[in-house]
Each structure stands twice: as C-alpha cells, then as structure tokens.
Amino acid sequence: MKVFRSHLLLCGGTGCHASGSLSVKKALVAEMAKRNLTEEIKLVETGCNGFCAMGPIMVVYPEGVIYMMIKPEDVPELVEEHLVKGRILERLLYREPTTEAVIPTMQEIPFFALQELRVLRNRGLIDPERIEEYIARDGYAGMAKALTEMTSGEIVQEMLDSGLRGRGGAGFPTGLKWKFCSASPGDIKYVLCNADEGDPGAFMDRSVLEADPHAVLEGMVIAAKAIGAHFGYIYCRAEYPLAIHRLNIAIEQATEMGLLGKDILGTGFDFNLEIYQGAGAFVCGEETALMTSIEGKRGMPRPRPPFPAIAGLWQRPSVLNNVETFANVPQIILKGAAWYAGVGTEKSKGTKVFALTGDVNNVGLVEVPMGTTLGTIVFDIGGGIPKNKKYKAAQLGGPSGGCIPVQHLNASVDYEKVAELGAIMGSGGLIVMNEDNCAVDMARFFMDFCQDESCGKCTPCREGTKRMLQILTNITQGKGKEGDIELLEEMAGIIKDASLCGLGQTAPNPVLSTIRYFRQEYEEHIRNKYCRAGVCSALFKSPCQNACPVGMDVPAYIGLIRAERFEDAYRVLLKTNPFPSVCGRVCDHKCQSKCRRGKMDEPVAIKFLKRFITDSAPRPRVDPVPVTRKERIAVVGAGPAGLTAARDLALRGYSVTVFEELPNPGGMLRWAIPSYRLPRNILDGEIDDIRGLGVEIRCNVRVGKDLPFEKLAKDYDCVYLATGAHKSTKMGVPGEELQGVWGGVEFLRAFNMDENAWMKGARTLGSKVAVIGGGNSAIDAARCAKRMGADVTILYRRERKEMPAAEEEVTAALDEDIKIEFLAAPLKIEGKDGQVTGITCERMKLGDFDRSGRKRPVAIPGSEFTLAVDAVVAAIGQVPDMAFVPKDSGVVINKWDCYDLAKDSQSRTTNPKFYAGGDAVTGPDTVIGAIAAGHQAAADIDSDIRNALGEPAWEAPAEEKIDVPLLIDEETQEQPQTKMPELHGAERTTSFAEVELGFTRELAIAESCRCLRCDAEV
C-alpha cells in the first residue's frame, strides 16, 4: 500500500459544496501538482462533518488540524505554510467557540419577558395552515360558547364590559359599535374586517393573519352572532399574498369542518365570508371608502352620518373592525370581560400590538399591556438604539400620527396619553428615530405620502397637502421663508377641519407634531440653512463638515491626503481651525458620528487623519499681521475660545492682549488634559503661531486681583471674557472637607502644574484612589493617578453606555487596569484625623427616564459598601468661577454661574463692551465648541465696532485656492476603520509618553481611501 506523509480530508458535504469546497479542491489539486506534492500527500473528499456553517472545512492529518472557511485564494498560502513548511496557518484555524455561553431562557430575554401575549398567543407555536393546531390551543371554543350559551345581547355586554377599543387606531369602544349595529333594524347585515393595513412601518395585521388566521375568523363569527349578520368580508390588500393565501386555507378548512358556513357546529347559525382584495390605496383603510370599494366603486369616503352601523355596506347595517380587534374577541368571550380588563389602564384595557421598527435593535412585533411606557417598549423590549446613537423620537400612528420625543419616554402608551402628546395610537406602527433623522424631512416624508394617497374628493385635502408638501420641500432645500411655519400651522387647521375622512383630518398631524417638539429645527432650516441631523443635503456639502461646529472642510483635507499633498491639507485645516494638531488628538469628532461611511461599516477616522497631517507636514509659516485699527481688545482667559478670538481679531488688524491667571496659556488644554493625550510641545506650537501674529499673552495676571476689572474696562475698547469653567462641582456628601478629597479639575491642574513633583513622589494621592464621575475629566484623573502607581477605581452611578466620556477613553482606561464600578454613587467620605480613609457608596439601579433619555439612577436601600481609599477625586462636573466679576459691572451672571448673553447676540453680554464665550457661557463643553465660540465672538466684536463707526463690513483677504482632486474607488469594499497604533507595556502606565502613536503615511493614505467623498457633485 502506498504511504502518504499527510492526508487532507476536505469536506464534500452539501453545506461545504454550497460554500465552495469544489473550487477549493480544484485549487488544492493544482497547487499540489505545481509543488510536486501529489506523491506525498493524499487529498480525500469526505462526507459532511457537521460544521457546515464554517465550511469549507478541511482536516489535515496526521496532525488533526482543522481549517475552516477556506477560499481558493487561500490555498497557495495554506500549502506553502502547512504542507511545505510545516507551520499551522493560524488565520484559517478552526476555533471552538471560546465562551461556554449559558443559553438564556425566553423569559430571561427582555424582548420576550416583558410582553403579554393575547392576540399573539399562538405565535411561533402553531402551523397556521392546520386548523387542528388552532383548535388544540382552545381555538373556536370562544365561538362555540357564544353560539350556544350566549344571546346577542350578552355578547355585546361582554364586549362592553371588557373595555376593548378599536385597534385600527381611533379607539372607539367595540362593544358600543356592536350594540348600535345590533339595534339597527334590518335582516341583512354585514361583518367586515379591515385588513387594509397601509401605514408605512406597520405590519401587525399582516403578521396576525399569517400566523393565526383562525383567530380573526372566530372573532368575526362572534361579531356576526352579536349583530345578527350572516355574511362578511375581509378586506385585505393584495400586497399581502401570504396573508391572503393562509386566510383562504383557513376559510376552506373552517368551512369544511362546519366552523363557517351553514349550521355552524350544529347550532343553526349561518355565517359565510369572503376575502375582498384591495388594490392598496391608503384611503381604503377608511371605513366608508373601504365599503365603497367592496361595492365595486372607486374607493372614496362618504359623509357620516349615517354611520355604518345604520347604513354601511350596500346601505345595510355593518360592523367594521380591524384584524387585531377581531383577534382579541374569542379570548374575551372564552375567558370573560373581567379577565380581559385585568390589564391596561383605566380607559384603555387589554394589550396592544406594536410593529416596532426603525432605529431600534430588536425590530419586530410586540404585544404589551396598555399603559406600558414608551421607554420600556423602545429600550427594554426593543433593546435601545443601534450604534449607541441617541433616541430622538418615536412616530406613532404613521402618517396620521405624531412623534413622541425624548422628554416623554416615561409616557404611558394608552389612547388618552398618546393623544395628549400630539400623536395617535393608530393601528400600532411604532417607528423609532435616532438623532440622524431630521424633523422637517420626516414631516415632509409623511406629507408626501398623504399627498400621494389623498383620494382627491375634498379640495382642502387634495390641494392643501400639495401646498404643505411644497412648503416643507422648500424648507428642506434651503428655500424656506419667515412665516412658513405659521402658514403650515394655518393650513393644517383648515385641512383638519374641512376634510371628510380620517385621511385628510389627520394628514397634517406629523407636521404639527414636529413643529410642536422641534420648532427650533424648522427655524434653523429657514434662518440658518442648517440641518442639524445632516439629512437635508441641499443645505451642506458633506455631513461631516455640516456636523463640525467650525465647519472644517473634511472631504478636502482627506482628499488631499489621498493625493499625498499633506502641506496643502495642512493649509485647509488652518482655514477654520487654529488648533488642528490639538483637535487631531482630543476633539470629540462630531463629524465622525455623521460620516456616511459609518452607515456601511465604520466612519472614517477623521480625527486621526487630521492629526496625521499636522504630524507629517511642515507647519505653514506665520507672519505678524500689522495692526491697522486703533481699537484695543482684551481677552480674559487663554483657553481655546480666548486664543481663537485673539487670533481672528489680530488677523483683522486689531491689537489684542490676552490675560491669563495661570503661569502658561492653553486653558483646559494644558491644565486639564494630561500630556499622554496632548503632548505640551504640540500645544505650545499652536499657541506660538498665535503669538506670531502679534497677539500678546500676559500670564500670571488674574483679573480682579492683579488687574482690576474696572481698569480693564477703561483701558480697552472691547473685552472678551473666555474664562472657562475651572471649579469642580461639589458632591454634597459628608466628609468632603477632609484632606485627600479633590475636585477633578483642581487635581488635574495641580498635577499638570508640576508633573515632576507628583511623578517623583514629592506630592501624592496615596496608593488607593477613588474617582467619582463618568466624563472625560474623571477618566483623565484616573489615568493620571494610575501613572503615579495608584490602584484606581472609578465610581459611576449609571452604566457604561451612559458615560459621557469618549468611548475610546473608557476603553483606554480599562486597558490600563483601571477598575470601574458602575451603578455606584458616593454617600459619605470616611476619614480619620482629618484625612480620607475610605468612601462609602451605595448601589444604584436604573429607574425611569430623565429628560436626556437616560435612565435615572435610584439608590438601592441597604446596599451601602465602603472602599478603603487614600484619596477621592470628584469629577462630576465643573462650573465657572465668577468671583472676579463685580456686581455693578453690568455683566449679568445667571443661576448656572455663567455669563448671560444679550438677547440679540451670540456673544455679547448684557454690558455692550463685554463679550463672552466658551465654557463660561455654555457650561463645560468641548474644545471645538470653544473654538467655534471664539470665532463667533471675533466676528461679532469686529462687526459691532465697524457698525458703530458706520464702516463697511470686514472682507477677508482673498484666499489662495487649493484645488482638491476627486479621487475615488470604483467599487467600495467593506473595511473597518484603521486602528490607531498605541503604546503598550510598562511605559504606558508609568510615564506620560503619548499613548496614541499616530498614523504612519501608509495607514493614513489607506484610511483616506475609505472616504466616500459624499461632498462630490456629479
């Protein structure tokens, strides 16, 4: 027998065939022949080994190594490595799933656990095409009871007592509707089922019909008995072929078994029904239009009264209910009204099915008791918003409904509450929208739908929706005018009042509701031509640039990186941002959150690319700007806001002096952000460039002490107050006065003032440190303490996803072995002889939602625990220190300890000589926010001065044009963001060397190629 040194067992099962094992085999044969291995190694095709999902699978003997997901192009490498060199090819190695994950029960998954199944009680359990399975789950037992044990009056009474309200949307009591129809004289009556579900995003009825069609049939027979009808229709849109198919089977089987038709169950009661297929007009969901459509006419509504209960289909008394309403009926009859009314709110009983869709993790069909909060549906059942985006609103009731914004997440979802909030329950479509949805565009979308679907009978609806759509379209295209909002409101009122049917009466709802909650967004579109969500693309060049507070031309500098023109890229950066190398390191990169590439895989690493430019291109030369104006400007505070304003004003020819209390300029960039994130030479370089323009920076001057406030006002024509927020918020717990308790910014300032002293042990926090808070300052403080050798624990009162700190900072802290205790809040600081010895905390659990859409932490009684620590750093927030502003200065300080601005200005204070910006106006914000404030202030100061003198506005000197090539790939492959190389090992946690090492040229160019260049106009 021939002996081979190795056997290759390639799986030839169906699964592996399907994933391409044949072409792998071919490649193997060819490769082995090429390398003359055919005599040494035998290739065998085996039967299925069962790992089909990982196929094609190959086992190599004698080693018994299993390779998975082999592609033909892997074969040369595989042969070279394993068969020639005897090295295992790691990347194709089959790995046992490492986590021995415990499989949760259905009740442990909130999506299922929080639902209450009544209408959907058979979901996933029965075969909808086998009537026996429905019967086995008590199917037709309710009908049997109604036909044999109950009179028509008793059925109606049971329905009235149950409190069931029409699930089609209007919420009219079902029992009452039946009562009217039952009392209506006539020997021919009809039971109609509305399955013309047409709201965008709604699929409750379809799903019920597909999964449990008999429940609807049974409900209809009971209704027929209640009103004395013997014929019925199910009006179902033809776009639901599977639903119609299963309904037909159900009707056929029920008829065959005597559960429909003549003499049902031998009781003598007759009921026949048919499916009427609608062509899909939205208006045919309206009851009178639906009936007109069944009559064979064009589906248009007719005036009511007479109501259908009196004169419905073919002028006969009729009951029309929707699918979900009928599906509720058998259970009510079988288990009784009291059982049904056992859940829900006072006026809304039972459960409601929602089609949960949009920006939510668990898309699907959910059934919850009436009165469940919106937050529970979206965040607990729905699993929250994908990609950690922010919840913006939920649209209830589709194009007839309205939206419910973040401040109402605690709202109980029932007919009354939802209407109070300006939405409607509707048939149950619940579309979740995140921050990337524009309120105006959303209104435009629904108006477009209604305009399209208006049947045209009533002029206000036919013409009004057109006009409203036109106005909305104009607004989204930047052609909005003052008065548009008011005009929309006026037209909405008229359309609502003067339309015959629900379509017209509710068509303006999405517009009214978005104006109610997002009026500011409408105004931004109209006045500033700005769409904060980055949706209305006529208003901006690219979403990244639109998201940047200073409007950096991101696609331009990324395009220039790709073209390897780094110096030009640097010049693009400096056009809008005096601190690009700082922002390339510490910006919160709002741009990336809107990056279109992020919709495909991950956003472009804009921040890292910006840093790469400043790391690799020479800094453009700065020449002093001659002072051409006589006005003298003082800036108080040398942080990013103050320095940006100083630079802009210097560029406009003003003489500018910056006063800084601390020994060096930079503000929070120097005194809060540690040097492992922002090396000081980088910061110094950019500040030197500002000095180079002719700006004078005087450090160690505290206004109000070294320089009287009044003198400042006297010596300068204008003063810009950019004094930041350098005082930590107190925790408000006992023991805060002890030695060893620090405020976050105070600690960071002391540390950054003398890094050496701390690192050499001349100053110390101690060996165990607790940091309180979840923002960037808390993380900064913790990572500094870690570098001094301390054992650090961060205590945060919520969960990780709620932390305001940048995600990458939290990850970095965890990588450095910093512990984070989530859901823990300080209660008391323990001490001995005036020195901290520990901190007592209590555990929190998450309660209802606050206005920001985050769950509020609530203390768990009796959950106290104490950590022994030597120091506590409380980084829970900062406020400005306004002690230096005299009461009589005319500069008003508000209740948040911030400067109040004049009503008509974005930077002028209540004293026209003084301007303010940055953290001291907004409270703690970002670097880029401060830079934007600086730009704003400089522009305002300059234009106010010129206006006062009657001079023309400043004209920026003509910029040299930097032409940006449009280099794009023909096809885009999915590829995640390029990772930032980082410092590892001991050096990282024992020194202040920069942790992020920066992109190499190759990495940067590769990353720049990921930009989709959505700025391009084609």
């Binding site: 069962g50 089909c52 259905m106 209450e116 199944l117 959907l120 996933g124 799903s207 078994m257 993790n361």
Partner: protein, 127 residues
C-alpha cells in the same frame, strides 16, 4: 369531512396534543421553521429546503418538520425551533442553509446544541 359538533372540538384538541407531544421511541425531534413574511424575506425558504434535503440525505424518518408564523423578533429571522424528545426547545436565530445543515447534523441527530447560533431556550409564556 364531517361537520363538527361542539364536543368534537375537545376531541381534536386531545388528539393534536397527543400527536404533537413528543414521546420517546416514536419521534426524536420536532423542527419548526418560522415562516412569516419576515422569515421568508430573510431566507427561511432556503433554510427549509436545506433542512428537507438534509433529512432526506440522512434517511431519517422520525423527525417532524413544521412551519409557523412570525415569532415577533423579525430582525433575527430566519428563526428555527428545535425540540428534541424530553428536552427544552431551542430557538436558533439568523439561520441560513449551512447553519441549518449544521444544526440538523450536530443538534437534531447528535444532540449537541449549537450554542453560537442560539437565541434562547424554552418557550414564551401565555398568561
């Protein structure tokens, strides 16, 4: 078929319960492919086809295959429930033909739950 009387409903109920209750020795497993529009749109037909073919290839006759409608969690479709005699039902999520083949071979035939594809075990409770 003869028209039913009320007492027949109860008989059908008992008969179906007897049929669907898996008993040792007769059936080894029941596999439910959830086939609402959502399931079909995300590939439930492929899954079903792969399953039928795998059963045929394996020459197994004591496995019940059935379908049902949407289970609620449309974004994890196709969903498949596998219930082996005397064991809790296991619900698999985001299935495809190859995962189905693997689940059939490893779980249905060999009893080894394919944890990486599992959504949950047990069933929903109707109060």
């Amino acid at each position: 078929m003869a028209k039913l009387k009320i007492e027949d409903l109860k008989k059908i109920k008992e008969r179906v319960h007897a049929e669907t209750a898996l008993r040792d020795g007769e059936r080894r497993a029941k596999i439910t492919v959830h086939m609402g529009t959502c399931g079909i749109a995300s590939g439930a037909r492929d899954v079903m086809e792969a399953l039928m073919k795998a059963i045929e290839e394996a020459g197994v006759t004591d496995v019940i295959v059935t379908t049902s409608g949407c289970m609620g969690l449309c974004s994890r479709e196709p969903l498949v429930t596998v219930e082996r005699v005397g064991e809790e039902p296991i619900k698999y999520e985001s299935m495809n033909a190859n995962k189905m083949r693997q689940v059939f071979k490893k779980h249905v035939l060999e009893g080894e739950i394919q944890t990486p594809f599992v959504l949950a075990r047990g069933a929903e409770i109707v109060k």
